[in-house]
Every structure is written in C-alpha cells, then in structure tokens.
C-alpha cells in the first residue's frame, strides 16, 4: 500500500500527564486548607454549611457521572440519597431508640446492632460503606431494567423510582417511623470526612471518564446506534455509571444523616432533586468540576438570600421553605440558565485544565476544505482478484 | 419572479449552502440537479422560510422573503412538495389536501381545485377518506404534489418528487409535472434523477457541495460531457 513510513508522531498527552497531576495536587491542597480552616475556625453553623457543600457536591458529581456522561437523565438520584441515609442511620442509631416499641419492623439483629462502643469515625465509615453498598445494590436492581430506556422515558421512570422510595419511607412506619423520620443519629460527620469522600467521588468520576468505560459512556450518549454498532454494550455501560453513582450518592446520604442527626422523608423528594439537578446543569452536564462548583453555589445562594426572606427557612436545602422567595429566585435563575446558557458554566470542560496547557479539542477544523488525499488511493482500474474465481 | 443572490445557509457551524445565486422567471420550469448532500433541499427550504440564510437575499416578485415567516411565504403564492413527501399520515387524504389550502383567500373555489387535482391523480379521489399513512409511496407523492397545488401557487417548489419511486411511477410524476407547466405554473424542481429532470426543464442549475457549479438551458446541459459523466451515469 501507499502508506508512508510511520511519521514520528507528535508528543501526546498521557492519561495522567505531569501537569494534570500537579493541578490535581494543587486543588487537593487548597481543598485541604479550606477543610482545615472550616474545621478549626468556623463556628458551628458555617462549619455545617461547609459540610453540606461537600455532601451535595458528592451527589452532584455522581449525578454528573450518570446523566452527564451517559446522557441517561436520572431524576431518581435522591432516592439513593434517602436509601444511604436511612440504611446508615438504622445501623448507627443507639439500640435504645431502635427498640421494638419504636421501630417494630426492624429485624432483631439490626435492632440490637450496636456501634455506640466503636470509635465514632469507624462507625461512620462502616455506615457510609454499607449505606453506599445498599444503594448500589438497589441501583443495580432498578437500573438493570431501566437503563434500556432513553430520553424522557428514563427521566420519567427514575422519577417513578423516587416516588416509590418516598412512598415507602412515608408509609413503612415500622422501620422508617413514616413522616416523623428517624432521629438521634450520632452526628459524627465532620469537615474532613466530608472532604475526603468528595475527593474520592471526584477521583472516581475522573478516572472513569478517562478510561475505556468513560469513552463508552460518552460514545453511547453521542450516538446510541453507532456505539452499539462498534461493540459498546450500552446497557452494561450505563448500568456501571448508574451503580457507581448510586454508591456515591448512598455514601452522601449516610454523611447527611450523620451530619443532621435526624432525617425525614420530606428531605428526600422533588425539592432536593430539583436543587441537585440545578447544581449539575449550572456547572455544565459532563463537567465534574462544574458539578462541584454548581453544588457550592446552590448550597450557599439560599443562605445569602436568607436575609431577604425574613424569618428564614429551616435549612438551605428545604424546598418548601416558609416564604418561598429564595426558591422563586432559584427557579427563575435556573430557567434563565436554560434559556441563555444551556451548556452551563463549564459545558464539558474541567476547571483550570486549560491554564495548565492541556489542549482542548478543536471544535472547528481550521484549514477549510482540504481535498481528499489522492495519494492514498491506488489506481482505480487496478483489478481486484475475485475470491470466487 | 424568484431571485436568489449570494445566499449562504449554515447548520450550526456547517455551511450547507455556500453563496448561491439563481433566478426563476415567470412560467419557467427550472431544475436544480446534484447529488445527495449538495444543498438542494436546504436551498428549497430556505426559500420557503424554514431556514434563514446567513447572508444574501431572496426576492419573490421584488419582495424580500428573507425575513418572512414560512406561513406568509405560502400566502404570497409559493408552495412546496417537500422531500420525503411528509404526508400527514394520521389525517385523511381530504384533510391533507385541505391543509394545503390553509392560506387561500378565495375559499369558494376550493371544490373546483379538488376536482382538478382528482383529474390529475384519480387515485386520490378514490381514497379521499383514507388516512394518508395507508397510501403507497407513489400515491403519497401524488398527494404531496396535490397538497402543494391546493395553495394555488404561482411558484411551485418540488423537492425530489421521484425519490424512491418505481420507474413507471417516476414517468407518471414527470408527465404530470410537464402538464402542470403547460397550465402556466412556474416550477422549481429539485432532483437527483438528473436525466428525467433535464428532459422536462427549460433551464437547469447543477449544485455540488453547496455551490452552483454549472448552469444553462436544460438541453445543452443534458449533452454536456461532464454532466453526463457525473450525473447521468454515462
């Protein structure tokens, strides 16, 4: 063939180039400094806000993983947050409050399961892992059928999942205490734990994206049919993203339960769903750093709006606050983003990588219309031997 | 009657039509031939106001069309039988035809025109209450042309009327096109089947990758060796 001797290829970036490692290190350090500051210097309320930012950033990152990468829009993510929160709470609540008189539906072993003697952080870690694992298993069971759907259908089906979870939380009083919710959960979540889990979530998401799995996810989002045609197992690819994101969100749920110390079904419904969706859309679907930034903005903004909402709502994430003004502002702001900047703040890009000289893909081919290289083609009239001859 | 001057059309960043100019005069049958993706359909849809040109002007009897919404362009007397026919499959043949008359001012003459269309395409008359989706490809093409005629257009735009039809039907459709021309309708015909199009047309333009690369009267283009090689498969 006319293929020329292989040209020395230009130096190409490797999956984890040094510059990116430096950047990652810098971001890690800045985050750690902030965490240290929050832990040591902030008063209770502000520290809680810091933790909340981190927790919601984990949820937003995991939503970006499934919705942004695979394009399967899930409105059920908060269902996994609830599962993580309830499962972990039932593990670590002192046996005294899990007695049959309070929670008659609990199995014996769980009612007497006692972590009060454990070091608090060990108990929390255990609760996070179990909460995440249960969320992941349910994610697998739910996702296996649902990941066949696309577009509106999957959004609607996952929303159905959220409603089912909510209905169970509200009605299965023997285990969840219904609308009253669970309380007396040890409040062991601190800034460091939240920060470390956020780092893990971001790491996992980035690692997956720059891997064969991530390419398969994005390919199936970009063109479902073509991706199947080149051998991508779309169901398995989407399911992987869905389960990993369910795990991370489950962990976030555990952290949330152990931050507030009390949980109720109202926290885990459309209000929170909408808030988290805004975080991801605001940051840019498919951008991990965008999700983190979106989460921070969306957690802090209601706090900033609080003074004008005289009286104040109960937490930044409450969707039906007492007066509703901040929600109106957020909702209108969201609509404006959808209209004027549907790609969000970052689109597909990651914060800061451009600063460090990473080349972003060219959206436009600069050299206008290039003739198709004729030297590649052999003579047209050269006969092809017929294999059947 | 219709004049395009330096019209460019983009889909996002992709330039589909790269600065074309041409004209159609009263009573003429003009054809644009060229391969798939040459920009022919884009051109017709731009005339009809579906797409907006990025630059250039489109005028119809001196009036600028570039800023008009498509329903007003239809009201001016330009109707189109679109590529792929785009019949409303769930609506009856009658409703399809009546939709063609949406912008008509003289509603009294509608029954007369229906009769005329049934004389052109008797099969439509037989299927008047059938839903459009149950028609065969050829019948759908007739319906699409009939629907466009219901607007009583002064300029009729035909986009690939022979697409996907068996040769016998292609001949039927082209016979009707010739007949329409004799009734005085001005026609702009876009076709991949260059051979047939050049047979019926007065003048022709050849489009390739967004440009008009050749123009001339249809007969001389039909004998042009380059055209023969590229489009007539000869």
């Amino acid at each position: 063939m006319a293929a020329a001797a292989p040209v020395q290829r230009p130096v190409r970036r490797q999956p984890f180039a040094r510059q990116q490692a430096m950047l990652a290190l810098a971001v890690l350090l800045i985050g750690a400094l902030l965490t240290w500051f929050a832990h040591a210097n902030l008063n209770g309320y502000r520290q809680q806000l810091f933790i909340l930012c981190a927790i919601y950033a984990i949820v937003a990152v995991s939503l970006a993983l499934t919705s942004g990468f695979t394009g399967v829009f899930s409105l059920g993510q908060i269902g996994f947050l609830a599962i993580g929160a309830y499962v972990s709470a039932l593990l670590t609540m002192p046996p005294l409050v899990k007695q049959p008189i309070m929670l008659p539906g609990l199995p014996e072993w769980l009612a007497t399961f006692d972590t009060t003697g454990w070091p608090p952080q060990a108990a929390l870690l255990f609760a996070c892992l179990v909460g995440g694992a249960v969320a992941a298993i349910i994610g697998l069971l739910v996702g296996a059928p649902l990941m066949r759907l696309s577009g509106n259908y999957v959004a609607v089906a996952t929303m159905g999942f959220l409603i089912i979870v909510h209905s169970v939380l509200n009605n299965w009083g023997a285990v969840t205490r219904g609308a009253r919710g669970l309380s007396q959960i040890p409040t062991s979540t601190n800034p460091w734990v939240a920060y470390i889990w956020l780092v893990i979530a971001v790491y996992v998401a980035l690692r997956l994206r720059n891997s064969p799995y991530g390419r398969s996810m994005i390919a199936s989002r970009e063109n479902l049919i073509a991706s199947r045609g080149i051998g991508v197992n779309v169901l398995r690819t989407r399911l992987l993203a869905f389960v990993v994101s369910a795990f991370l969100t489950g962990v976030a749920g555990a952290l949330l339960a152990h931050q507030i110390g009390a949980i109720a079904p109202t926290t885990f419904y459309f209000g929170t769903t909408f808030t988290v969706v805004i975080m991801v859309v605001l940051g840019g679907m498919g951008s991990i750093s965008g999700a983190v930034v979106g989460a921070v903005i969306m957690t802090l903004t209601p706090e900033l709006l609080r003074p004008i909402e005289a009286g104040g709502a109960i937490g930044p994430i409450q969707y039906s606050g007492l007066y509703g003004l901040s929600n109106i502002i957020l909702a209108v702001g969201f609509i404006l983003i959808m209209i004027f900047r549907p790609q969000g703040l970052f689109g597909e890009r990651e914060l800061g990588l451009a600063l460090f000289g990473r080349r972003t893909p060219q959206q436009e081919w600069a050299g206008e219309s290039i003739a198709i290289t004729p030297e590649l083609a052999p003579e047209i009239d050269e006969p092809i031997p017929d294999p059947r001859a | 009657m219709l004049a395009l001057h330096d019209v460019r059309v983009f889909y996002g960043a992709i330039e589909a039509v790269k600065g074309i100019s041409f004209e159609v005069r009263q009573g003429e049958l003009v054809t644009i031939v060229g391969a798939n993706g040459a920009g022919k359909t884009t051109t017709l849809r731009t005339i009809s106001g579906i797409y907006r040109p990025a630059t250039g002007s489109i005028t119809f009897e001196g009036q600028d069309l570039t800023a008009l919404p498509s329903h007003e362009i239809v009201a001016l007397g330009i109707s189109q039988s679109p590529e792929g026919r785009l019949i409303f499959g769930s609506l009856s043949v009658r409703d399809n035809l009546m939709l063609g008359a949406t912008r008509r001012a003289d509603r009294a003459t509608i029954p007369e025109d229906l009769d005329y269309i049934f004389s052109l395409f008797p099969v439509l008359g037989e299927r008047i209450n059938q839903s459009g989706g149950t028609l065969s490809g050829g019948e759908q093409q007739m319906l699409a042309i009939g629907r466009a005629l219901m607007a009583r257009p002064r300029l009729l735009l035909l986009d690939e009327p022979s697409l996907g039809l068996a040769p016998m039907l292609v001949n039927r459709i082209f016979a009707v096109i010739s007949r329409l021309k004799e009734t005085g309708v001005t026609i702009l015909l876009v076709e991949q089947n260059a051979r047939k199009a050049l047979e019926v047309a007065d003048r022709a333009y050849v489009m390739e990758t967004g440009h008009i690369i050749l123009e001339g009267d249809a007969r001389s283009l039909a004998t042009n060796p380059e055209i023969k090689k590229a489009y007539l498969g000869g």
Partner: protein, 298 residues
Amino acid sequence: MSAAEFGQQFINALSLGSIYALVAIGLAMVFSILRLINFAHGETLMIGAVAGVVLADRGLPWLIWLPLAVLITVGAGWLMERVAYRPMRGAPDVTLLLTSLGVSIALQNGALLTLGSQPRPFPTPAVLGGQIPLAGGVQISRVNLVTIAIAIVLMIALTWFVTRTQTGIAMRATAENAMAARLMGINTNTVIIAAFLIGAALAGVAGFLWGSRVGRVEYDMGFIPVLKAFVATVIGGFGSIPGAVLGAYILGFGEIFLVALLPDYLTSYRDAFIFVALILILLIRPQGILGSTEPEKI
C-alpha cells in the same frame, strides 16, 4: 364487594378519571407538538383554584367567578408559553422537562408567597353539595355527577375541534410534522399557543372540580393531579389525546379499585403501586396503549 358498593366505586372512579382526563389532555396536546412534558401544567390547575378562592372572597357569585377563574388560567397558560417555553423551542427533551420543573417550582412558591402555607377552604357552590340517590341504594354526589358531565361535554367539544375545525386539523398536522405544517402555510406559533390555551382552560375547569372535590386549595395542590395526569398520558401513549383520556380513566379506575380491594395496611402505598405499574408500562410498551410503534430510523 356488593353490587351497591361496586356501583358507588364505579362512579367515584369515573369522576376521578374525568378530572385526570381534563388535566391529561393539556399535557398530551402540548407534548405532541413540542415534546415538552409540562410539569407546570399542575400549577395552571392550582392557579384556577386559587383564582376561584380569591374572586369568591370578593363576594362574586360562582357563575361569575368560575368563568373569570378559567380566563385567568388561560392567561397564565399564555404567559407560560410566551415567557418560559418559547425561548426553549427546539431544545433537547430533557432540557424542556427541566425548564417546566423550574416553572412549576417558581409558580408554586409564588403561590406560597401570596397565599401562605395554610390550606384555604374552597368556595364550592351550594348546588354542588349533597348527594343524589340512585337505584339500589347507590348514591352519587353532585360534585361527581357534574364532574363526569362537564368532562364528557368538554371532551366531545374537543373532539369536534380537532377533527372538524381548521385550527384543530392544523394542530394535528403540526404535531405530526411541524416542518411540513409550516410548508402548508400553517402558523405553528398560533397552533402552539392554541394548544397551551386550550390545555390551560381545561386545567382551569379541572382546578374548579378538584377544589370542589377536596374542599380546599393549597399552593402545592397541582402536584398530585399533574403527576397522575402524566401517568395517564404514559399509559395511553405520550402525546395522543385519545390515549391520554383512556389512560386517565384506566388510572382512575385502577386507583379507586386498588384502594377498595387492597388490604388496609397496603392502601397507603397506592402511589407506589401506581408508579410500579408506570415503570412496567415504560419497559414493556413505552409507546403506551395507543401510541404508534414506528421503529427508530437507522
């Protein structure tokens, strides 16, 4: 279940299904044209009911405040299309869905801001109070009777509209292929606005009926009906108006008889059952009962 009980439940189901149908029609109409799942449609219903309360507080008789309230919902539907949805034309489906969630939340909180979080009693007209005895000991409440009657009348009117009037046919044409409709000279903007206005008017009537049924209004009262109407459209087939109506009655019957037949400790899970059914439908027959089976073009 005795025959009398069955009769009673049957009428309850018919009435509930009728309200769902009125809401679902608006959802289906807008979806068929714009591919927008308009969650804020529930808020149009809420606005209708709230307007009723506010106007009745001014001492207006119901014959006057009811049409006024419907007029106000129509205005709200028009405004919604104009301000929020028109700039989003052609955006991806999910973007449209999220926008409608945004509109829904903004409107709910707007109502919260003006109305407060306490429910207000709905000024159900006196004529709608009380029961009418039927044969065999079955009683039908006047609200149910009127609901069924109004729904039937409106649905007949709507059927006439979409099959016999030029705008109605243009609407179906636009839903099927918007570009072809434009090439026919149809002003698709007008058609889209008409869909919003009709949907809003039906939702306004539904708001009145719903308010009369439950006896109170709240800022978030639109949520449940729109969710149910939405399930109805999925059952019947996204975007099909007859499908939406059929789905609404199936849902109404399913809900009423589920509660009647389920053991007590499970009845509170009614919504969970409904959404399990919804997910199963999406998996088995995503195009719904009356949806088309057009395979995706490759």
